[in-house]
């Protein structure tokens, strides 16, 4: 298909150029469209894109299925919210802290992958996601229970304080996406990135070649959780209110759908998947009550007509793929 060829061509460009080409139009977007609703939607999509990029590290690059990714997003959001509300941490200190705390949990959840594999690992992450959500719901004295936390401070940038206006948040999210993309491109071309793909393709062969499988998987879980933690802090600072419902299983599943739809293992695929699945429900608003029904149908149809995802050209073989088809590498 043309899309596949086009994505091959894009892949051959140097990655800083890819970042500029992909994100440039979005940086210019607020200059042409001042509609608050559009800008707000795009910021939300940007947060989804960050999350999808993070999830892609575990699912797309390393080939481990994670069904509880929303938990890391929630941990990041609650970390910043609690640090801000109890100890008055500013956003710029809370942001890395949220990433680090989330990363710690990422390591914790990566631990069972020493022994637990495939769908069994997926269910461990699902369990972790549910436990986290229930904990947010029930630890009333800390998390405010089902009502959540409110009055979380918005960021300040030197003398500029963020307000309800979504434009500065959009720029913040875009800069974070650009930095994350840069980092992920560097990572996927490094020794650790090749090790991740090696594990995805054949863990046994990789460990025979001296790839420290556990160590590398933990790195994947940690990096992916770190990104989700950052996204969580941004989300908390943008909404100023967070409730446990925002971090449920449906979100984990939706993020997974974004990664698969965009094309697994492809950094821009994750961003594109987030864009499609983030904007689609809004485009379907005209259908009112039939909206989510049509959304589901579109998801099925997209999978039937483009099973490898929008930008996917490689097929992931081992645990996530069918054993018949062999795919080339091509992580970027």
């Amino acid at each position: 298909m043309n899309l596949g060829k086009a994505s091959e061509k894009i892949k051959n460009l140097p990655y800083p150029l890819q970042i500029v080409l992909f994100l440039g139009p979005f940086f210019l977007f607020p200059l042409f469209d001042k509609n608050t609703y559009h800008l707000d939607l795009l910021t939300g999509v940007g947060i989804f894109a960050l999350l999808a990029m993070g999830l892609n590290v575990v699912v797309g690059l390393t080939g481990l299925l994670n069904l509880g990714y929303a938990a890391f997003f929630g941990i990041g959001a609650y970390t910043y919210a609690l640090l801000n509300l109890h100890w008055h941490w500013s956003f710029w200190c809370g942001l890395p802290a949220a990433g680090l705390v989330s990363m710690l949990f990422g390591f914790l959840i990566g631990m069972p992958s020493i022994r637990v594999r495939g769908d069994y690992l997926a269910i461990t992450t699902l369990g972790f996601g549910e436990i986290t959500r229930i904990a947010f719901n029930n630890l009333d004295q800390w998390t405010g229970g089902p009502n959540g936390l409110l009055g979380i401070a918005r960021p300040r940038f030197f003398n500029y304080s963020f307000s309800v206006n979504p434009t500065p948040y959009l720029y913040l999210v875009l800069v974070m996406i650009a930095l994350t993309a840069f980092f992920l491109f560097r990572m996927s071309r490094s020794k650790i990135g090749r090790a991740l793909v090696a594990i995805r393709e054949d863990e046994l062969a990789a460990s025979c070649m001296g790839v420290p499988a556990l160590h590398v998987k933990l790195v994947a879980f940690g990096v992916s959780a770190f990104i989700a933690g950052l996204a969580g802090a941004v989300f908390a600072a943008k909404q100023t209110i967070i409730t446990p419902d925002s971090f449920d299983f449906v979100l984990s599943v939706l993020l997974l759908a974004m990664v698969v739809l965009g094309g697994m293992g492809n950094i821009w695929g994750a961003v594109l998947g987030a864009l499609v699945l983030g904007v689609l429900p809004e485009l379907l608003r005209g259908f009112a009550v039939y909206r989510m029904l049509i959304f589901g149908l579109v998801m099925i149809l997209m999978m039937i007509f483009r099973p490898q995802g929008i930008l996917g050209s490689q097929i992931i073989r081992r645990e996530l793929g069918s054993p018949k088809e062999k795919g080339s590498d091509g992580t970027s």
Binding site: D119, Y120, I123, F128, I134, M299, I300, S322
Partner: protein
């Protein structure tokens, strides 16, 4: 009776009851996984649809033939729900999964998530988003065993679930179709070379799994007395957890996993707190998987080189 023992037995009984329902749903997950290696996310919704069909049937039956004995109504309700869900299962397999045969596993998973959205919203549109209450079809009757009460619905749940499990085991072990199912889950390609219609086997698997979920949904609706279009989601992930717990792909594993998960939940709710019961269930699952990474009865498949 000693009150502590009494509480223990009552929680055990409640846990066993819900565990039987989980086991019925878990069987559908495990059977589909066995032949397709697919986590069928829409299965929880099929269970929920089964509950709603039972609700409709009960409404019809109680208004049309008010004087009939309850077991006739019960039979009608099960049949109605089973027929509807089996058909639904076959349609889901044909439309959402068959076109994706041979494409990466996660693709079918996403398709099943899409199907789950479709079913949930279809039910919401048809029945409304409010909680629907199930008409009373059973007489008020309960057995008092020295302080431990067993309700009629609990007895019905035990009887139906156990007999269905026995029937399923017989089907898989003794019939030609059962043999074909086992062969297809062992190795679909070799099975099709031996003249087994793998597509036919997959369809049968979906129909059987959906029928079991329909019974599970009907029992669930009667046990709790009300239904919401969200109910399929939580019951679905619990049942899937149960299937993994027992060792996914294994039929006796799903039964044991479902019952055990129900019992853990019952004790979690009784002794810790009902708010934390799910944490208890999922926490135990994670710990168990650390010690037995392929579930209780799952085969530990060595990696081929």
């Amino acid at each position: 009776m000693n009150p502590e023992l009494q509480l223990f037995l009552q929680q055990l009984l409640n846990g066993l009851t819900i565990g039987m329902v989980y086991a019925l749903i878990a069987l559908g997950y495990t059977m589909v996984y066995g032949v397709l290696q697919l986590i069928n996310f829409a299965h929880g919704e099929v269970f929920m649809v089964g509950g709603y069909l039972a609700l409709t049937a009960a409404g019809l039956a109680t208004s049309l033939w008010a004087g009939l004995p309850f077991w006739v109504i019960l039979l009608f309700l099960f049949l109605f729900s089973i027929l509807g869900c089996s058909l639904l299962g076959a349609v889901i397999e044909r439309t959402a999964y068959r076109p994706l045969r041979g494409s990466p596993k996660l693709t079918a998973l996403i398709s099943s998530i899409g199907m789950s959205f479709v079913l949930q919203n279809a039910v919401m549109l048809i029945y409304g988003s409010k909680e629907q209450s199930m008409p009373d079809v059973l007489p008020r009757w309960q057995l008092d065993l020295g302080g431990v009460t067993v309700s009629l619905i609990q007895l019905i749940i035990f009887a139906t679930a156990l007999s269905l499990m026995a029937l399923l085991t017989l089907f898989v072990k003794r019939t030609r179709m059962g043999k074909a199912m086992r062969a297809a889950s062992e190795n679909p390609e070799a099975a099709s070379l031996m003249g087994i219609s793998v597509n036919g086997v997959i369809r049968t698997t979906f129909v059987l799994g959906s029928a079991l979920a329909a019974v599970g949904g009907s029992l669930f609706a009667m046990n709790y007395g009300s239904l919401n279009f969200h109910d399929g989601y939580l019951a679905g992930i619990k049942a899937f957890t149960a299937a993994v717990f027992g060792g996914i792909g294994s039929i006796p594993g799903a039964m044991i996993g479902g019952v055990l998960l129900g019992v853990f939940e019952g004790f979690g709710a009784g002794y810790i707190s009902s708010e934390w019961k799910d944490v208890f269930a999922f926490g135990l699952l994670i710990i168990l998987l650390l010690f037995r990474p392929s579930g209780i009865l799952g085969e530990n498949v060595p990696e081929k080189v």
